[in-house]
């Protein structure tokens, strides 16, 4: 196999990595918000349930969570949900690994939503009461205060910690290979097994580095864009 062929082969895997990355962000960024609100709820049982859930999800390795999502339907309900989805998509649409990828996406989305919810909570709680009160005495509704006054200040404060999580996420996508999803590292491992080639495994690092470089650039720009105000 030529260098170019190997690059193309790995790129096919990296497309899966990017897919997991993009879908996880798209799901977890909004999903984190209701979890954050539940954790901050004045209704004690709601806050307690939410906090325990976040504690479990953040306290258990993501790889284990992938296994749980993937195997629990079969073990508990005697129905191989994700295996069936795999077969269904392969037979009807010619897409490989679809069921497994869905299992990974569920695990990732929930896991990252919990991490994000804690960042949101920290950001929201760091805004001074005075901002809410200023909105109140100006006759604004609660939702006007949140969306018009608080939100952008929170966004500004959470961009740095969110950037860290987002950069971690692209690297975490490698965990998908624990249930044989053909992301980039799985592809490289296949090359090692079938072609006795080890170097492509190390070469995958370049893909991650390039993408992380791009992310750092974009997130830095966002941070700069929000630097026109302080507070």
């Amino acid at each position: 196999m030529s260098f170019l062929e190997i690059t193309a082969f790995l790129l096919r895997g990296f497309r899966i990595s990017l897919l997991i990355f993009a879908v996880t962000l798209a799901a977890a960024i909004p999903l984190g918000l209701p979890i954050a609100f539940c954790s901050m709820s004045r209704i004690k049982p709601v806050a307690a349930v939410s906090k325990v859930f976040v504690w479990i999800v953040r306290g258990v390795p993501l790889m284990l969570q992938i296994f749980i999502i993937y195997y629990v339907p079969g073990l508990v309900f005697h129905y191989q949900l994700f295996g069936d989805l795999d077969r269904y998509f392969l037979l009807n649409h010619g897409i490989e690994d679809a069921g497994r990828i869905i299992a990974v996406l569920i695990a990732f989305a929930v896991n990252y939503a919990c991490y994000f919810s804690e960042i949101y909570r920290g950001g929201i709680e760091s805004i001074s009461r005075g901002q809410y009160e200023a909105g109140q005495v100006l006759g604004m509704t609660k939702s006007q205060i949140f969306f018009r006054v608080i939100l952008l200040q929170v966004v500004k404060r959470i961009v740095p910690p969110m950037s860290n999580e987002i950069i971690t996420l692209i690297k975490d996508t490698a965990l998908a290979n624990c249930i044989m999803v053909a992301e980039i590292i799985k592809q490289a491992k296949d090359l090692a097994a079938t072609k006795a080639l080890i170097w492509p495994l190390f070469y995958t690092g370049a893909f991650y580095l390039a993408f992380v470089g791009l992310l750092t650039l974009l997130l830095g720009r966002l941070e700069k864009k929000l630097s026109y105000f302080s507070g």
Partner: protein
Amino acid sequence: MALLEIRDFHKSFGKTEVLKGIDLTVGKGETLAVIGSSGSGKTTLLRCLNFLVTPDRGRMYLDGKLLFDAGDAKKLKEDELRERRLHFGLVFQNFNLFPQYTVKENLCLAPKLRMREDPEMKDRAKRAAFLSELDEKAEGLLRKVGLSDRGGAYPCELSGGQQQRVAIARALALSPDILCFDEPTSALDPELTAEVLKVMRSLAADRMTMIVVTHEMSFAAEAADRILFMDRGAVEFDGPSSAAFGPGCTSERLRAFIGSVSGGERPAGHETA
């Protein structure tokens, strides 16, 4: 007739009784200075007026009409609360400007949001007219507080004194009946208090109805029509500022308080009154 009448306001936080039956009246166009040592309940009183805190007991009349009764406070809907709040403006000790908006946007945000909610303002032409009027009003207010050239600045680009003047203009943009101030100069360096007090004096001269919690005794003596002296959650003195600061002040405690905050010096203004 009094513009604002407070009857028997009580408020406790847990076991601490912070307001122990406050009565006060403010006439239209009057400036009332509320003074008293720290912890006497001045902030809590202002917060009750602005519906940020709900009194446990008491009533409030505006223009002779019942505006609030603690007895049926629980039934108050959020929208009604918002409507009633708009009779009052509040200027905070630490400004609380919205940092992501320019000075002018700070002034216009709340009025614009109100316009959007108003069912009578659906019409495009009406909205355009409202917005241009609002813009003029904002310009006028910025001129009034001496910041006409800073409308495009962000709060972080302004000094504390300028920020507080913006906060005053922002409160006025909703045309409240009564403007309340909670120690508006306490967070400012001494050299910046003068510019804020000057704006407040000019509002007093324009007969804006104001309730001002302050430790600036010279402002209270010179610019306020009346003084309300609070002591441990009760009104210890309520009378014209000439009586409060004059030599014949009837309240021993008030005399001691004024002596302590003005460092033994009697503030100018009423020495010969």
